[in-house]
Symmetry: C2
Subunit: 301 residues, 2 copies
């Protein structure tokens, strides 16, 4: 299960309603921030999420609307005398920009909190225990962009009625069976896990793609996602502007979801020139289970 | 007349209700931003003030909560293809920090819009036509801090009944009298300006002081101000913390206003640990015409 809190949903210029991009993903007791546009620290406060256990930032890319909130967040964490290490994951080009930004404020290699930089390359970012994060390259103008796949494994749970009817006692033997290992019970019978485990359930796949100029080549990462969060900066009527600025239209995002067996599509990073209704209408014509993210939306998948 | 829009009223850490410090002052068709904390560009949008004719920033000092909104504001002005020069006024130490911050993002001497840096020293900052801005040094920890005095001159207006009874015709002669120069009318009489001008009215004095560790030595600049905007980070019960961090208490700010014949006191930069009511109560006991600024407050003086 992944709980998403949209902290900012604007394109490069914010609006009265939408802050700069940032998305908080919570799973298995961990909290991960994806992008950190200007004002994200206050959005964390306004959303009620706060700063606790926030020790990892994934950056899709380093256009300034996605990273200018980092210095202020670090300042505030420093004032709170946080001693946790903050890990920032981003493409090497992205990290270079962030490192220069921090150096401009605090001097080379300095920051108000301990920071580690972890350069992304395609593949696994972390195995966080209850879930994994993988990343894949994304094309967006001159940036070193990445998208992210969050996956929690499907689990098979023990069936109490089967355990009872087979006479498996409470205790460590049940734990062994839950782990998929056969056990021998008191009367000498061997119990096979297949006899007491239900079907696999609860596996979830969440894909988050920031700014991107195309969906070409991304199907392999997005296929069968329960939820896809992706930019939809423009409408189809402005497709040529979308091309010029390296962004998608709502129609393209929806067609991409439809082609890849996605469960739900959440659009974000919308240009302030459009009404939500027209963006949603364009997407829903192609992919009905579409939604436009608003600041402070909380969605669980 | 000065119109103030409070864009941010928090101390160093924002809250759900208060953004980082920034104050827009409008007078005689000019707009001046005092400080530019993180998120100020969005506060400009949320307040309805927008970005038009915004070409001058006065910085009280360069602690990051007062300047981190500058890069994002410049990015957005750049996207709007603004070609106006933005002038940033601050103490030399303040400007050094801002220049390094911008260099960390765009390279030395570069920015998305044309920027001029104007170092403050005590005295006049600008004569903007309908009003003047002067600055004076303020002590706040390790910073190079300044406070600002906005003054619009009192004016004497022509009295229509006196003009009529003395037989001064419409036209340029009245303009001469309004400028304070005597004129000779058709029948040979000399009309003295003192005979047709009313009393001086409409002069206004607004003083804005950012973070400060003391009011000592500041009376000469604040005396007889129609309005004083000043920090009140702490309450008297935390006076020792106020000393340690180089800030005022509400009681100190109020006593300072009371001692200097100030018209109205507006407190800002309050620590999030207090309720507005207790801050206001502490100030109003000493200086009744006190007010606690809230984000988006619009006050005319």
């Amino acid at each position: 299960m992944f709980a998403l809190t949209f902290l900012g949903t604007s394109a490069s210029v914010p609006s009265a309603e939408r802050n700069h991009p940032a998305l908080l993903v919570e799973a298995a007791g961990k909290r991960i921030l994806i992008d950190c546009g200007e004002g994200t620290q206050r959005q964390l406060l306004r959303s009620g999420a706060g700063f606790r256990r926030l020790d990892r930032i994934l950056l899709t890319h380093a256009h300034l609307d996605h990273v200018l909130g980092i210095p202020g967040l670090f300042s505030t964490l420093g004032l709170r005398q946080s001693s946790d290490v903050m890990t920032i994951h981003g493409g090497p080009g992205t990290l270079d920009i962030v490192i220069r930004m921090l150096a401009g404020l605090w001097g080379a290699g300095r920051a108000p909190i301990p920071v580690e930089f972890a350069a992304l390359s395609e593949g696994q970012v972390i195995d966080a225990g209850g879930f994994t994060i993988d990343c894949f390259p994304v094309r967006h103008r001159d940036t070193d962009s990445f998208g992210f796949v969050f996956q929690s494994p499907a689990r098979r749970h023990l069936l109490p009625d089967r355990l009872a009817s087979l006479g498996v006692p409470d205790g460590p033997l049940r734990g062994e069976l839950a782990q998929g290992r056969p056990v021998v019970i008191e009367d000498g019978r061997t119990i096979d896990p297949e006899d007491v485990l239900g079907p696999a359930t609860g596996g979830r796949k969440l894909v988050v793609i920031g700014d991107t100029e195309t969906t070409e080549g991304l199907s392999q990462y997005v296929a069968d996602a329960d939820m896809l969060v992706i930019e939809a900066t423009f409408l189809d009527r402005d497709a040529s502007i979308a091309r010029d600025y390296g962004h998608l239209t709502a129609a393209e995002a929806a067609a991409f979801a439809a082609a890849n067996n996605v469960g739900q599509l959440v659009l974000t990073h919308m240009s302030g020139r459009y009404e939500d209704e027209e963006i949603l209408a364009e997407a829903a014509r192609i992919f009905p289970n579409s939604r436009i993210a608003a600041d402070f939306d909380h969605i669980v998948v």
